[in-house]
């Protein structure tokens, strides 16, 4: 059974049809890079996968369970699906350690000792073991984004959604964040990432999804798609970013 199964997904914002029938399956351990021009619907698609956005038609199954509109309780889904944002969205009134500990403590009700050890482990994993007591505004953008990854990992999700997580970073800070993602991929974490980092998509992803006008225009093995795009749209996109 695929971890993510999306069938004929449609979404409209008013008159604007953002998704026009998206189909996609993601298996456990897949590292999926979603690329496409802005306005192609890739971020909306990602946000539907953990219920941040509703949809109008189609089916979405995560780990076998169907998700529907905002009216249902999304918490069980969100325990399985972590998310990292472009703007980090760390909680500025809490230290890095407290950011990581918050959800395991209040949502999973884990004991303070467990949670502390967990946070230390997760911050260590993203290379920030020494920043436990630092507040977000004392950290660089790259460090903040790594804390955000540690925060998502602390809930032990089945998969992680990454929404352009390096787009708000200064160029010299992109590498350290991608390195963490690369390591997660190597450890077998299921990842779906909307990204503009084409080289990263090619090297780390095992599946490339090119979205165009609200549909999955092409999907497949990243290396062969980058080498031989089957459609002129993907070819011109690769050329334009490339």
């Amino acid at each position: 059974m695929p971890l993510v199964d999306v069938n004929e997904l449609h979404k409209q914002f008013g008159e604007n049809e953002v998704l026009r029938g998206v189909n996609l399956t993601v298996e456990e351990g897949d590292v999926v890079a979603v690329i496409g021009r802005s306005g192609s619907g890739k971020s909306t698609f990602l946000r539907i996968l953990n219920g941040l956005e509703t949809f109008d038609a189609g089916h979405v199954r995560i780990d076998g369970e169907r998700i529907s509109g905002l009216e249902s309780d999304l918490r069980p889904l969100r325990r399985k699906v972590g998310m990292v944002f472009q703007q980090f969205n760390l909680f500025p009134h809490l230290t890095a350690g407290e950011n990581v500990m918050l959800a395991p403590r209040v949502v999973k009700k884990e004991s303070p000792v467990e949670v502390k050890a967990l946070a230390e482990e997760m911050l260590g994993r993203v290379g920030l073991g020494d920043k436990f007591g630092a507040f977000p505004d004392q950290l660089s953008g790259g460090q903040q984004q790594r804390v955000a990854i540690a925060r998502a990992l602390a809930m032990r999700p089945r998969m992680l959604l990454c929404d352009e997580i390096t787009s708000a970073l200064d160029p010299e800070l992109v590498g350290e964040v991608l390195e963490v993602v690369r390591q997660l991929a190597a450890e077998g974490m299921t990842l779906i990432m909307v990204t503009h980092e084409m080289r990263f998509a090619r090297e780390v992803g095992n599946k490339l999804v090119f979205m165009h006008k609200g549909k999955v225009h092409e999907a497949g093995d990243p290396k062969s798609l980058f080498a031989n795009p089957r459609t002129p749209e993907l070819a011109s996109f690769i050329q334009s970013v490339g």
Partner: protein
Amino acid sequence: MISFTLWDMTRHLLVGAGWTIVLSVIAFVFGGAMGLAVLCVRISANPRLQRFGMAYIEFFQDTPLLMQFFLIFFGLALFGVDISPLFAAMLGLTLFTSAYLAEIWRGCVESLPKGQWEASACLAMSRWEQLRHVILPQALRIAVPPTVGFSVQVVKGTAVASIIGFVEITKTGTMIANATFRPLTVYALVALGYFLMCYPLSVAARRVERRLHAAGRR
């Protein structure tokens, strides 16, 4: 006519000022607690509760405080509930304060980036957990300056309690003015009294605001 020295006036006004402070503190403390509850109703996920919170706030913002006092003082009496002027004033000012503080704090909650809601939602937090751990700690921090600033309005609002017969500084002033036929002197002293109570609050509001700007953290 009774002969009143300036000191006699001041002495009586100081006692009245004491009651003004008592009433202000009670209204502010209870109004703050209740304002937090109104805030939670106002920003709840349920649209019906939201509308109720909005109606509550609008009612107290869009009617004069004096009418609210009359409704409480004479309205409750109509139902056979006999309440003292102190209690009526307390209740009236508490409700008034809660509505204004709830609205001030709502503005603070809404000024937080949407990403704070989204990030906490993605961590599987319930709405209450989001409010308790992520939203309110940040919102209430930026709320400190306008909240302290609003306390000035509460202090001045207590003057209205004089009309339903509660003897605070304004009522004391009216009684002395009637007895001495020296309204200008008396009311000048009353105004000075209010100024001495409110000015420190204004200064405090400005100071915390500057400090928050400078720190910008936590």
